[in-house]
Amino acid sequence: MNSETSRDSHANDQQQISQTLEEALAAHHDDESVVDVDEPTQQLVLFRINGQRFALPGSAVSEILPSDQPVYYVPGLPASTEGVLHLRGKIESVINLQPLLDLPTPEGTPSGMILLVSASGIRSGVRIEQLDDVCEVAQSLLQPPPETLSSTLLPYVSALWQIDERQALALLDPEALFSAYQQGLG
């Protein structure tokens, strides 16, 4: 090893150390990026229905089924019921939330994934349009739903997450959704 190579190698090492320190120091100045590990968080499954952003508690979603999961139509049920699916020796219902949330029901063959949701001792598939993410969110970011929220949505929203100035996401209450469905709504 000649002296020039050794000097280059030393310089590279210094550069790497310098970058690491820079990042470390920068992190100390950026208070917002510091995560309080003790702060309680909630897992959310983020998705869209008719382009609108919603979430369900991760604790209520036991499985995410692919869009090509066969769903069998059952006659004599309301339009909000897509049918039933056969999953590992059990039959689960599949419902659409559009009628409950006062959103237009899309025409044609449903193409989104199905969330298997459990609440109040009931389990059912819920058809969504698009799955966005499954993430942990600090509880402090979840605010009570404002009174200005649409009266149609209000009974089914347990919290609102203001993602940024432009985007907010409604955390749905699965118990309220199932209860309303059973009472003949939607």
């Binding site: 059952v74 004599g76 049920l77 059990k90 039959i91 001792g121 389990r123 059973q182 009472q183």
Partner: protein, 160 residues
């Protein structure tokens, strides 16, 4: 069950469940396959012969007047007969391709809880599959209680 160490006790309930078979009469109701326990079906005819008849369409899902004529009639015991009266029968109009099948109990699935309060017909009690097609399982007792029968003014001649 004998083993090298002697007999192993097998839970009777599980053994029974694994071996249990249910005999069903399968039929069509329009485009849907349906079935009910064979013990409720007393007879099958091509024409209605009973005083009281009902089209399976109207009992299960379709109240519209534009219903196809049933091609077969299943004679069922009337569960609405009052105490002290002689048990009478009524007939359910269904569509063709009626078959008698024994299916393992383990392949008969109960109705999902969420749907129970939203059914058009309380007779729908579960599902099974026949060649990957959904079959609606019907409770014959609740089927007859669901709607009043149509009463024929003069029953047609009995046919077998």
């Amino acid at each position: 069950m004998p083993t090298s160490k002697g007999w192993v006790k097998v839970p009777l309930e599980r053994e029974h469940h694994e071996q249990a078979q249910v005999t069903l009469v399968l039929f069509w109701v329009g485009p849907y396959r349906a079935a009910m326990e064979a013990c409720h079906v007393l007879a099958m005819t091509d024409h209605p012969t009973a005083l009281r008849t009902a089209n399976a369409h109207s009992l299960l899902y379709d109240e519209s007047s534009d219903q196809p004529q049933p091609s077969r009639w299943l004679t069922l015991r009337d569960t609405q007969t009052a105490k002290g009266q002689t048990a009478s029968t009524w007939q359910l109009g269904v569509d063709g391709d009626i078959s008698l099948q024994q299916l393992p109990a383990s392949t008969l699935y109960p109705l999902p809880k969420l749907l129970q309060s939203r059914l058009f017909s309380p007779a729908l009690c579960g599902f099974t599959f026949e060649q990957q097609q959904l079959v609606l399982l019907l409770d014959a007792g609740k089927l007859s209680l669901h709607k009043p029968y149509s009463t024929s003014p003069s029953p047609p001649a009995i046919s077998s």
